[in-house]
Amino acid sequence: MKSQSVVIRFAGDSGDGVQLMGTQFVAATALAGNDFATFPDFPAEIRAPAGTTFGVSAYQIHLGARPITTAGDAPQVLVAFNPAALKVNLPLVADGALIVLNIDSFTSRGLSKAGYEKDPRQSGVLDGYQVVEVDMTKHTLEATQQFGLSKSDAGRCKNFWSLGLVQWMFNHDIAPIEDWITKRFAKDATIRDANLAALRAGHAYGETAELAAAVPHVPAIEAQFPPGEYRGVRGGEALSLGLAAAAELADRKMIFCSYPITPASPLLHTLARYGNLGVGVFQAEDEIAAVCAAIGASYGGAIGVTSSSGPGIALKTEAIGLAINAELPIVIVNSQRGGPSTGLPTKTEQSDLYQAVYGRNADAPIPVIAARSPSDCFEVAIEAVRIALRHMTPVMLLTDGYLANAAEPWLIPNVDEIPRITTNAPGPRDVGQDIGTVIFNRDPESLGRPWVSPGTPNLMHRIGGLEKDIKTGNISYDAQNHQAMTNLRADKVAAVAKFIPPQAVEQGPEKGALAVVGWGSTYGAIYQAVRAIPAHERVSHIHIRHLSPFPENLGDLLRGFDRILVPEMNMGQLATLLRDKLGVETVQLNKVTGQPFLIAEVVQKIRSLLAPAAAVRKATPKAVRGERA
């Protein structure tokens, strides 16, 4: 069976090593020359009670012979380590999917913990699927018995046994995984050898189990990629690399200040390893201290960066106002998650756009940009630092839980080809000239002021959160001055639009029947959905990186379409922003289930809008209200 792409999902207890299995499978996928996208879907509890449905962790991979931009809709292959994993994931899989079950866990106890009254293998719920029953635990124990491990240690090798099986199913070489195991467990020869034996045994098992017929075979597609050197990259990793690269491009030290929070912490962990790259990491006592330390670092001439998720960003709000007032550059990264309050820490959402654009006391605008894919995080990180330093302003960078953890192949950029990041240096101070007029002598284009740090002789000055005189920086309670400063702060953020590229159309015509407009991690789903629509329907995909301010041409561009559809993982925040800033009316497609959009959901919505005129009229009131996908 040949296929252009296939979606595979591994599911088990959060302690089963499913995430590890997924990432190793991805490495092999890349080496086999397939494009891919991944979606790690894990529970908030680190180790929920084993065998229960709320402890199920999953890893979905979409691999293809054609360019892949999403982790895929319905999995065609599900590997379920226990009944709970089957129960949680069965509703997601495609009709006729191949389901590989670890039947060792289908005991009466395992079934009852998953909430199955009857064994699903007999109850009929698996009718219409191709079910392969494998006693993985038993085989793993057999393969590893020569190493004298305890039963529980030996059982832990199960993920490698099943990875061996899956590698065989997809015709992937196991050598890269062998190398990885050898390195990873170098300090414990027994564990290393047991895992290697399990991997090889699982691979060998495939040959005897006659699984081949059921597995969709996906050919490699090397020719479709532009030539160059590639690697797999997760969003968190690409963002870290981008920040470190930005520091190098600006020739400044970077101080990354953060407080642990899901799903933003991977950034903290990755950057903590970049000590030799001029990136300092400070784990603060709380979110407020983290942003304040970033401001302190920036005051000292380093690039201050802080990172969190929505609830933590809320705590940083007052300090962001200070950075606006003091005209100091910082980058605030928000890895969005479901909310409000603690909400859904491990699930993805795009619901902090209002917070980013509008969410501060007083008239306090800041530039806001968003990454659309794991590899895009690299470029966006550099862009955020560039804007912050040019305009001397805090910049909000939006990513989300999905992007932070998802992976895709990445054509490694050549850092030498990226333009340097320049900063505003103070001009010379004439004899008797007021220091403040040097410190606040703003660039007429960007309105960014010179970046003057302590240690600079002859320019000692005071800054703070109080309103200041527009020219001298001295405290000012003057009414007209406050109006002028408020205007200046707005003009400064508006000035960003002069420096950014015009909004491009991702695919489809520049004018047409329907523009599907998105931002952030919905890129892949929208891209594929629009691709699925015939060209004569004149549907285009527009994806916005610069959310505040918008690119200058965005209004005109959108007015070239009869209708505009805005799919978002929130209840309509970009739709509000488009109406507010550009006066553009849109049709909304909203989803806040904690899961990314399926391509099919977007396609269906597009089709409903392209339906004959009568049907559209009927559908309009509902569409305008916004629909929950």
């Binding site: 490495a27 890349a30 080496l31 020359g33 990629f225 532009p226 030539p227 050197e229 590639y230 690697r231 690399l241 470190a244 101080i255 970049y274 000590g275 030799n276 790259l277 001029g278 300092g280 603060a284 006592e285 709380d286 407020i288 201290a289 983290a290 304040c292 330390a293 401001i295 302190g296 670092a297 920036s298 005051y299 000292g300 001439g301 380093a302 201050g304 007052e318 300090a319 106002g321 200070l322 003091a326 490694i412 950029p413 050549n414 850092v415 740090s453 302590p454 240690g455 600079t456 002789p457 002859n458 000692m460 000055h461 005071r462 800054i463 703070g464 959160g465 109080l466 001295n474 405290i475």
Partner: protein, 332 residues
């Protein structure tokens, strides 16, 4: 810088706007006077404050200064110090700013032992917001927000700082200029976080809160000058008293009746003794002023710099291009 700056060179051009008679004037003048002795170029000195009367301080110093947001000065100072270990940083705060809204950051700057000098002006009242009780106000304090008296017990700044693991803890008084000069010098010279409580008068909302050390007679009876290596003796010459240890409890006795080897000799390196001293207060005990504790401990940014050096020596200078191509890559 050209010639060695004098005290007046540390005064900024800004008009000082504290209430007439405020204790802050004396502190400002003492700090300006202490600056030349640091021997540090003015441009390498930074004053960072939060919000409150005391936090106006940076505006009046002709150094670098940052008037930040309420309670957060220690966090901001930490970020600055990590980025710029070469700078001499002072944090100026008050009892409300430093111990109420900013209590958490104060705890953490002290335990990390970042090399900054914290000057906490304690007047036991909220002044800038016009007279509400503060976390150091005495229980039952009648203010605008507590017409029937406050219901919460006060925090003792010195005991708090010691409990946080501070490496330098001292106390001085705004009306004792020579002592304040000496303490400012000691605090500024300490490597690590120095915590200096300055008992300061708010003549508008809480006048004479520290009268125990202002009133001539009371001061004579209650002031206990701590001096390293000297016994804990206080009171008038003709009626000297001693603080001694009875079991594990401090006790006040007539000095004349104490054998020399039974005296409590002040030792700045003794953390446990400092904790006992922090709790002494009138009327049952004298009020200690001076350095309660001064010890050496690892300094946060020193450790961080050391780690960076090690990363550099073990892995060589960073190279983004190399990092980008690290791990599994493939060519097409």
């Amino acid at each position: 810088m050209s010639a060695q700056p004098a005290a007046k060179d540390f005064a900024s051009s800004q008009e000082v706007r504290w209430c007439p008679g405020c204790g802050d004037y004396a502190v400002l003048s003492a700090i300006q006077k202490s600056m030349p002795d640091l021997g540090i170029p003015r441009e390498n000195i930074v004053f960072i404050s939060g919000i409150g009367c005391s936090s106006r301080f940076p505006y009046y110093m002709n150094t670098y200064g940052f008037h930040t947001i309420h309670g957060r000065a220690p966090a901001l100072a930490t970020g600055l110090k990590v980025a710029r270990p070469d700078l001499k940083i002072f944090v100026v705060t008050g009892d409300g700013d430093g111990l109420s809204i900013g209590g958490n950051h104060m705890l953490h700057v002290l335990r990390r032992n970042v090399d900054v000098t914290v000057l906490l002006f304690n007047n036991r009242i909220y002044g800038l917001t016009k007279g509400q009780y503060s976390p150091t106000s005495e229980l039952g304090k009648v203010t605008k927000s507590t017409p029937l008296g406050s219901a919460d017990r006060p925090v003792n700044p010195l005991a708090f700082a010691l409990g946080c693991g501070a490496t330098f803890v001292g106390r001085t008084v705004d009306r004792n200029i020579p002592h304040m000069d000496e303490m400012l010098k000691r605090a500024a010279a300490h490597r690590g976080t120095a915590f200096l409580e300055i008992l300061q008068n708010c003549n508008v909302y809480n006048d004479l809160a520290w009268n125990v050390l202002y009133d001539k007679e009371s001061k004579l009876l209650h002031e206990l000058r701590l001096q390293h290596g000297k016994p804990l003796l206080f009171g008038p010459a003709d009626a000297r008293k001693a603080v001694i240890m009875q079991g594990v409890t401090p006790k006040v006795v007539d000095a004349s009746g104490v054998a020399e080897n039974a005296l409590w000799i002040h030792d700045e390196k003794n953390i446990n003794a400092a904790k006992l001293l922090a709790d002494l207060f009138a009327p049952d005990f004298p009020v200690p002023i001076g350095v309660l504790e001064a010890i050496e401990a690892p300094i946060y940014e020193d450790v961080v710099i050391e780690q960076e050096k090690r990363a550099l020596s073990e892995r060589g200078p960073g190279d983004i291009a190399k990092l980008l191509t690290s791990g599994d890559t493939w060519k097409i």
